[in-house]
């Protein structure tokens, strides 16, 4: 569902104003926009480009380069499972399978009911408490099957 233009406008302009005078602010602006809207809407990219005197292609190029930025609305919750080596050594891939099966979606997708987006992350720096995951910015270590099940049901509440 696209946001009403006027609503997007006012909130976006406030963000752009907050970064006036900051050197090379594009990434910071995109983070702020994603925090505000849950994603970086197409319309916002156009206005950011204008404000920073960049081409739309340049802004699009940056948005699409980084794994963090999404151009579609995500789920209400954000579940990230670490897929890197330290977690692999502790059975992380079995948990990745479990998450995929329990939610019926693949990594990079959002559940049909909009409850949760499932993501891969390559290292949370919790490698001495592997396997690890992060739910809405909260780190979880020494994750096991039942705990993952509990995390997933938390996202459905």
């Amino acid at each position: 569902m696209p946001l009403p233009e006027t609503d997007l406008d006012a909130r976006l302009q406030a963000i752009l104003r907050a970064f006036e005078g900051v050197e090379a602010p594009l990434l910071e602006i995109l983070h702020a926009v994603q925090l505000e809207f849950g994603h970086v809407p197409e319309g916002a990219q156009r206005q950011i480009a204008e404000a920073l005197n960049l081409s739309r292609a340049e802004v699009h190029g940056v948005v699409s380069f980084y794994h963090d930025f999404r151009t579609e609305v995500g789920g209400r919750h954000d579940l990230k499972i670490c897929r890197a080596e330290a977690c692999q050594s502790m059975g992380g891939e079995a948990l990745a399978r479990q998450a995929r099966e329990a939610l019926g979606i693949d990594f990079g997708e959002t559940a049909a009911d909009g409850s949760v987006s499932l993501g891969s992350v390559y290292c949370l720096g919790l490698c001495a408490c592997a396997p690890a995951a992060m739910l809405d910015g909260t780190p979880v270590g020494r994750l096991d099957g039942p705990q993952l099940e509990a995390l997933i049901s938390e996202t459905r509440r």
Binding site: A24, G61, D68, Q88, S89, C123, L124, A130
Partner: protein
């Protein structure tokens, strides 16, 4: 009498329930009317014991762990804070063998102090380095760092003093200090620990770098996967400004320098210094060809120092205690100490800072205690996703930049990931290609296309198609990637791939575990 209790506010401790333990202690002490002061310290790095709670009795710290919220009432029943007989009691913290055997220079305060208290920081030796630096001229500071033998702890091992000298001598109206806190290597968490447990030491190190090079602008580029470290550093910067560690005049020296936090956006390649600079400038994190060096032409064309967190955090102790003190630790051309991170399937996982020179076997078997699963150690990957897999037969390799290079490996950021005998090394080799394909910035062909073709060829080997010819093809591809890539992502992916194939030939013809079980 007020009793001080320490509960770590470190991501690793929080991930295993430190917040709930802290709440339980608060509740329990309120119920019992105990006079308690709670300090949220960093982690000591003994992660298998986290959440590790400490109490201070007569100036001495005693540890308990791993503590769950359910244990808290029992601890108080046993006489907590002074509950030495409780099964979770670990005795005096400093006497725990894992800590006692370390040489903590860079991590001296991590887990000890309140990370955001400048007074606490100073009481434990903080600011001595910056004060010493403020009394020197720029080239004296650079000479001290050069004489210490400090090499870049991010992985490349380039002498820090030489990098600083280049920036000092470069012409430019503005110069910049960039701290690379894009710690993306699996198995590493030293940067995160210091940013959460002793952020002021990093800020002090950057301020010293500014005095040494004439820089007035600083950035800490932190990966977005570290929200807790980002928040801590932001608060520490406020405290540092208040106490004039940074700001219009560092310790009234007349030299102005301030630091901004910038947040990454989930791109592993941005740990590479030129791609980091592009990202900092708000561009795609694409690698730049060198020359020009960042030291001459870095952030927005300004002469720029790009140093890893641990390199910068090691500078204050060098200035405070002298170059000799630091250089006297270590072996060969690897001087000083290195914070080794034990991770993955290891019994005692955590941070172990020691002088260079211990053997890999000592670190994994003796310090780490072997695997967490109790099964035999099959392989260790040293230096992150671009590091080689070493079998037990190479466990006599000393932890030293040159010794690892001589055996086709690398120390990298000093993370060690342990695998037990259930590991499938063909799958690990394939993953190295897959990871490279996911994270490639796309600038150069060997990395962008080679990674994809490599993963496909590994799948053919897995299916048993022309195993010999395809293995030779992978070796050839690795050679192209190694010599034809601009940066370490494409250039070092061959390390995990080739080491897995070379050292674990029995895994090459093996069927995947799921199929074999059917």
């Amino acid at each position: 009498m007020t009793v001080t209790i320490f509960v770590p506010d470190d991501s690793g401790a929080l991930a295993v329930g430190a917040e709930a333990v802290c709440d339980a202690i608060r509740r329990e002490s309120a119920t019992r009317g105990a006079d308690v002061r709670l300090v949220r310290n960093g982690s000591r790095g003994l992660y298998w014991l986290e959440p590790m709670v400490e109490v201070e009795i007569d100036g001495r710290r005693f540890a308990y762990g791993p503590v769950t919220p359910a244990d808290v009432a029992g601890l108080f029943d046993a006489g907590f804070p002074d509950a030495g007989s409780h099964p979770l009691s670990l005795g005096p913290t400093e006497d725990i063998p894992f800590l006692e055997r370390q040489t903590r220079l860079t991590f001296a305060r991590c887990g000890v102090i309140d990370p955001l208290s400048v007074a606490d920081y100073e009481r434990h030796g903080g600011l001595a380095g910056l004060r010493a630096a403020a009394a020197m001229n720029a080239s004296e500071i650079v000479e001290t760092v050069t004489a210490s033998g400090l090499r870049g702890r991010g992985g490349a091992g380039f002498p820090t003093g030489i990098k600083w000298k280049t920036v000092l001598e470069a012409k430019g109206a503005r110069k910049v200090i960039v701290c690379n806190a894009d710690e993306g290597d699996s198995g590493t968490f030293a940067d995160r620990m210091i940013m959460e447990g002793d952020p002021l030491v990093l800020i002090e190190g950057m301020a010293i770098a500014a005095l040494a090079t004439g820089a007035d602008q600083g950035f800490i580029y932190i990966r977005s996967e570290y929200p807790h470290a980002i928040a801590k550093i932001r608060r520490a910067l406020v405290a540092a400004r208040q106490s004039r560690m940074i700001g219009p005049s560092i310790l009234e020296s007349g030299h102005g320098f301030d630091i901004e936090v910038r947040v990454g956006a989930g791109a592993y390649v941005c740990g590479e210094e030129t791609s980091l600079l592009n990202s900092l400038e708000g561009k795609r994190g694409v690698v730049r060809a060198k020359p020009p060096l960042p030291a001459h032409h870095g952030f927005l064309g300004r002469p720029t120092v790009v140093n890893n967190v641990i390199s910068l955090a090691s500078v204050p102790v060098i200035l405070a205690k002298g170059a000799d003190h630091y250089r006297d630790f270590g072996m060969g051309r690897s001087r000083g100490t290195i914070p080794i991170q034990l991770a993955g399937n290891v019994r005692r996982g955590g941070l172990f800072e020691a002088a260079f020179g211990m053997t890999l076997g000592e670190i994994v078997d003796d310090i780490g205690g072997g695997t967490a699963s109790g099964r035999p150690v099959k392989a260790v990957q040293v230096g992150g996703p671009l590091g080689a897999y070493f079998p037990r037969s190479l466990f006599d390799t000393p932890f030293d930049y040159e010794a690892f290079a001589a055996r086709d490996g690398l120390i990298g950021h000093a993370g060690i990931v342990v695998f037990d005998d259930t590991a499938d090394m063909l799958a690990q080799a394939r993953f190295a290609f897959e990871f490279c394909a996911i994270e490639s910035c796309g600038k150069c062909t060997p990395c962008r296309i080679g990674a994809v073709r490599g993963a496909e060829t590994m799948d053919k080997i897995r299916r048993g198609e022309d195993v010999e010819a395809n293995t030779a093809l992978v070796a050839d591809l690795c050679n192209t990637m190694k010599f034809g890539s601009l940066c370490a992502l494409g250039g070092f992916t061959p390390y995990p791939v080739m080491s897995a194939l070379r050292h674990f030939p029995n895994d090459i013809g093996r069927k995947p575990a799921a199929e074999a079980a059917e």
